[in-house]
Amino acid sequence: MAALHAWLLLLPALVLLAAFTHWPAVATFIDSFFSTPRGSRPGVWVGLENYQVMAEDPVFWKAVTNNLWFAGATIPLSIGLALLMALWVNERIPGRAAVRMAYFTPTVLPMIAVANIWLFFYTPQYGLLEQVTGALGLPSHNWLGNPSTALACITVVAVWKEAGFFMIFYLAALQTLNPSLREAAAIEGASRWTFFRRIQWPLLMPTTLFVLVNAIINGFRMVDHVFILTRGGPDNASTLLLYHLYEVGFKFWDTGYASAISVVLVVTLASVALFQFFVLDKRVHYK
């Protein structure tokens, strides 16, 4: 009876989890072994063919390289910037509330609106960026229309967006640190850098791990500003994995192949997360 009661209490959460998380994942895994159903032609078992298509798809590999580059740049940059901002607004500086708010603003703005604003920042000839570089006497540059800078432009927007969000976690963590540590360090005559390196940074490790998990996930699920800014172009120079997945799934309606890409993406992210929880998590707590 008690067990039944417990299961009944768990039921709503179980139903939601199963319907929106577990079943779609399993269904996607199964679909990845079938061809795409079209109209009245149902999907048939094709084994690993979708995975073979993926291995031979140059756009997929371009998206993988781009995404690794993107993640490799956004993760350290946004975390580092977040930490710097948090350390700064944790001090007693004039206009502290206003500065905190300014840093956090990008996080609360809708991404599509933000991307549209950035689109005009990057516009050749009269965009904000061009006004600045033009005033410095530098030549005009088509930031989003050039394959060598398109991805970097998207990265900048992502860092700008993420850093404010991560700052909140660091700020919260900094405020839980025991103030007597700072006083002790001051009495010992430790420099600010030593205090940060030997005391604050080790104590912030659990927060850094949490932020890192989020940063990695965000690094691979970034898609919204690609739509507005470049649509993956020019010539796939700024295609990211999730955007490629969207194109295959909802533009080309090749759901079989899209399922295979989803499976690869989920497996990769899951293994990164497992590594973080089982290996890194044991090492971050300062004892």
Partner: protein, 431 residues
């Protein structure tokens, strides 16, 4: 929760349910037909569409039309096809005319021919411009009804022409003239930075469509009518791409990929003296340009021409027969000459039938503002917009090739050969 409030809540729910049933009974006499539409040009499109729906409902009390704005063309087809796969598609929708083969392959739509019964219906079907029907018919059936249709036209800044010492009333007529005029129109500041480009042809979003203005005028057709074969590596196609790339190399066209969405703004801001864009931007440009401008046909090389573009109405297969009939009635009503004329005046889109240009409002508008008639005059030279089976993917192969050539990553010939190889692979199973 207290028992009393709980009981009251139950009573309220029961009352609501009873009302709901009553509502359903009333709705049986009224057919509801939701439809999705995209917005692809500037201007108050949503307001105009809502106005049409209200006027239609006043005249037909038995039908409730619900227009639903669904984003860009791309977002609209994603929503419509997802809903189709989930079993509840809109009754009808405005989607790109080039998505016809995709919709047929997905078994999502029904041909319009089945609703055409009376002589009046037949006359209506025959009333559209032939150029627009090229992207609306396949396999001997008509699948789409032309609605927000367009062609690419050229806009030029007359003041910039005067400043450059050119005749402001004489637009470039040929590729050679376009290039030489663009050279004169390109302005640089003291440091050598370009402040005004001579010509700008956008290449983001749907580069293939703008590229068709060059292939068509070079007398090349990109795809066959059945949508199963493309000719991207035709020497005439490569030559057309070479011309586009050369404009950039000569410094009279902006480098890299040019954004579609900001091109009209570049024109108002005098950053480009000549632009290529849809005639659907006419009203937008007319209300924003602070200078005298001209609208002209696309400059010719071997021949005149431009692809048609824009959206058709499609009726979805999974809607009930009563809904499909009601949708057909609305489509017929909204494409009638007087509405088509109004739509053309309000937006700049081409009216879909010659009869619309004979209505007094559009005749008057055309005589006061002759640029509104350029797109119509270009229609006899127009060709079908690139459309094949697996359309989005085949088109992407071409778009990627175009962008690779425009950014200098690949020479035009190689870019087109790569696109051809990819397209052949994709179309293999449709032959």
């Amino acid at each position: 929760m207290q028992r009393k409030t709980f009981n009251r809540g139950v009573a309220a729910l029961a009352a609501a349910a009873a009302l709901g049933i009553g509502g359903a009974a009333r709705a049986q006499q009224q057919v509801e037909i939701p439809f999705f539409y995209p917005v692809a040009v500037g201007g108050p499109i949503a307001k105009i569409i809502d106005g049409f729906a209200n006027d239609f409902m006043k005249a037909n009390p038995g039908i409730k039309v619900t227009p639903i704005y669904a984003g860009t063309y791309q977002e609209t087809i994603v929503k419509a096809l997802t809903a189709h796969k989930a079993g509840t598609p809109p009754v009808f929708s405005v989607l790109l005319s080039t998505d016809m083969f995709t919709l047929i392959d997905e078994d999502a739509i029904v041909p319009v021919d089945g609703f055409v019964k009376t002589a009046e219906d037949k006359a209506w079907m025959g009333s559209f411009y032939k150029a627009f029907m090229l992207n609306s018919q396949a396999g001997g059936k008509t699948w789409g009804v032309p609605f927000q249709r367009s062609t690419v036209v050229m806009y030029w800044n007359k003041e910039a022409f005067k400043e450059a010492g050119l005749d402001p009333n004489k637009a470039p007529q040929t590729w050679a003239e376009l290039k030489s005029m663009a050279t004169k129109l390109t302005k640089k500041d003291s440091s050598g930075k370009v402040t005004q480009y001579g010509v700008q042809i956008p290449s983001s979003g749907f580069p293939y469509w703008l590229f068709q203005t060059l292939t068509t005028t070079n007398d090349a057709i990109l795809a066959n009518e059945a949508g199963t074969q493309v000719k991207f590596d035709d020497p005439k196609v490569v030559e057309a791409l070479q011309y586009w790339v050369d404009l950039g190399k000569a410094g009279v066209h902006p480098p890299g990929v040019v954004e579609w969405g900001t091109t009209p703004k570049d024109f108002f801001e005098k950053k480009a003296a000549i632009i290529y864009t849809t005639t659907g931007n006419l009203t937008n440009i007319r209300s924003n340009a602070k200078f005298d401008f001209g609208v002209g046909m696309i400059p010719a090389n071997k021949r005149k021409g431009s692809p048609t573009g824009g959206g058709n109405f499609y009726i979805f297969k999974k809607a009930s027969p009563a809904q499909q009939e009601a949708a057909f009635k609305f489509i017929k009503w909204v494409t009638a000459p007087e509405r088509a004329a109004q739509w053309s005046i309000d937006t700049g889109y081409v009216a879909v039938s010659p009869a619309a240009y004979e209505t007094p409002p559009l005749k008057k508008y055309g005589s006061e503002f002759p640029p509104a008639l350029v797109a119509r005059d270009q229609l006899p030279h127009s060709v079908a917009e690139l459309s094949t089976h697996d359309n989005q993917r085949v088109t992407k192969a071409l778009n990627d090739g175009l962008q690779a050539a425009l950014t200098g990553a690949k020479p035009p010939a190689q870019a087109m050969q790569d696109a051809q190889r990819e397209a052949d692979r994709l179309l293999r199973s449709y032959k």
